[in-house]
């Protein structure tokens, strides 16, 4: 197990460095200097050179990257935002928890719908529930979350006035408004994975139902409910746990669009805003943080799968 973890961690570090170096060097190779974006396009040559010297932009890319990475690793120092002038570590610390909460609540919502639906339809193949699941899974993977968001806002916020159309009031303003503001964005973020996971649950349960040990249990005369819960569900849900963990990583990408629709102050929206204001320090930091979270979730998915499934060797 230790060897497995060490190997995966080394690989993950390599991936994170490769991605952040790609983004870092690309942003440095863009012809327009950040100096011109900050100081204005008509800034004089001396001011631009001063700016570049101040932020070390005149050094070779590999050296700049080394300095940046060293700062990140040793001091948690991502540099300063070119736009707001604030330390980027502060911006990350403010926005990352929002996105994490959005993703976690979405995943819980997704599992609450998908797992019972998938299990019920596997136990009752060919019934109304089974057809309903088929419909949900096709429509769910085919509906763009951001469009669903627009439509749901139109129905539930503008017409009915039940839920807020956007923004996320902090928890300090009370848990009620906070949760109400999360309903629509979480639903929109969850729908795609609800479709995928419900379908996956169904096929996982069906696969376990065909195993020899289930037939043996039936032959032994164990009760139906005992077989279904202890023999079938326990085994069928093992892959679901790791798929759900990995899906949380993929949600960071879709959260960019959902946070934009609902005006939620998370790290994904900060990344998008930074892209448009050419605040490359913030872009690099956001990509680094999201990639790190993504690889960590992948490792977690692998580890839980192996922990839950003793048949898989480390």
């Amino acid at each position: 197990m230790i060897e497995f973890l060490v190997k995966r961690t080394i690989f993950a570090i390599f991936v994170v460095i490769a991605v952040s170096f790609l983004v870092f060097s690309m942003s440095r190779m863009v012809p327009t200097s950040p100096a011109l974006l900050v100081l204005g396009a008509d800034a004089n040559q001396a001011a631009v050179e001063d700016f570049e010297a101040k932020y070390g932009l005149n050094k070779p890319i590999i050296e700049q990257y080394g300095v940046w990475l060293y700062g990140v690793v040793t001091r948690f120092d991502f540099g300063v935002s070119y736009v707001s002038g604030r330390p980027i570590a502060t911006e990350v610390a403010e926005t990352l928890p929002v996105t994490l909460e959005l993703i976690l609540v979405s995943m819980m919502l997704c599992l609450l719908i998908a797992v019972p639906l998938g299990v019920l339809s596997a136990f009752n193949p060919g019934t109304v529930i089974d057809h309903f699941l088929r419909l949900v899974s096709v429509v769910g993977v085919s509906t763009p979350g951001f469009w669903l968001g627009l439509i749901l806002v139109m129905i539930f916020s503008v017409k009915a006035g039940w839920l807020p159309p956007g923004d996320l009031p902090p928890l300090s303003d009370g848990i009620g408004p906070h949760l109400r503001a999360l309903v629509l964005p979480c639903f929109c973020l969850a729908i795609y994975y609800t479709a995928i996971i419900s379908r996956m649950t169904r096929s996982a349960v069906l696969e376990v139902l065909n195993q020899d040990y289930v037939r043996t249990a039936v032959a032994m005369g164990l009760s139906k409910s005992r077989i279904r819960t202890i023999y079938v569900l326990k085994n069928a849900l093992i892959p679901i746990v790791s798929v759900a963990t990995m899906s949380c990583g993929y949600m960071f990408g879709w959260a960019i669009v959902i946070e934009q629709v609902f005006n939620i102050p998370g790290i994904s929206r900060a990344l998008l805003a930074a892209i448009f204001s050419r605040d490359y320090n913030l872009v690099q930091a956001a990509v680094l943080v999201v990639t790190t979270a993504f690889v960590c979730l992948n490792i977690l998915a692998d580890v839980t799968y192996r922990l839950l499934n003793p048949r898989v060797s480390w």
Binding site: V23, V141, P144, G253, W254, I256, L271, T291
Partner: protein
Amino acid sequence: MNVTAAPSFLGRLRTYPSGIVGALIIGSMVICGILAPILPLKNPLALDLSQRLMPPSFEHLLGTDQAGRDMLSRIVWGSRESLVIAAGAVSFGALFGVTLGLLAGYMNGTVLEIVITRCFDVLFSIPLLVLAIALMGILGTGPTVVGGFIIGIEVKLIILIGLSFTPALGRLSYASALVEVKSDYVRAKRAQGAGWAELTFVEILPNAIPSVIVQATLFIGVAIIVESSLSFVGLGVQPPTPSWGTMLADARGYIASGEWWIAAFPGFAICATVIGFNLLGDVFRDVLDPRAGAISSFV
């Protein structure tokens, strides 16, 4: 003995009604997209402020947008962008992924195999959507000049979205190639003196194709959603070129004021098209590749 011929591919396809629905949806979208210049549609770019924000009517079947442009015409012209970029991205991913996957499978046991499969592993462990958005933001949505070639936004989208499909399609064909390369018929061909190119592309490739077609069909649906999402946030197709994503971005301003048709119809177009590809892909799986389990495709 009475031998019944196995039903043809099309014959088996006919027994799946959902596949027919999917094929009809995609077929009509493609035909409308191709025929857009000669269909009796209004000019999708013509501004007419006297006609702005008109609800659906006989004159404008799906209404008009904030600049008085005909929605139906813009949706039909938008399908060209979406379909070309999605199909292009999946083709790019398939070309790249299948070639590398087959090569890795054929070079079983060599360093090349390890290098290629490691590359797939790396691509799998990157949040590719986030990376695509960041790179698109850095490169900009305008044309980029690379070594004398001018790369437009459509090509950038095709490459960035296509890259995210590469590892899945690559692993799929790698798995097929691994099985086939050890099979008797490939060994027999090799003994007859066939070279690597013939073995890989003439003998092994046809056996890898069915599962790739299944997955690629499903990926086109994903690509349409990714492209419209990127266009929606302003990092894809740029206005005034009509595209479903940018139409929805325009619609954001009219959610509160009740002009529902601006947001509803482009989204229906996306949904319908993606449902079409998903229905067809599911049926392809049942017909072409019944052994294949669901391969997760999250992007």
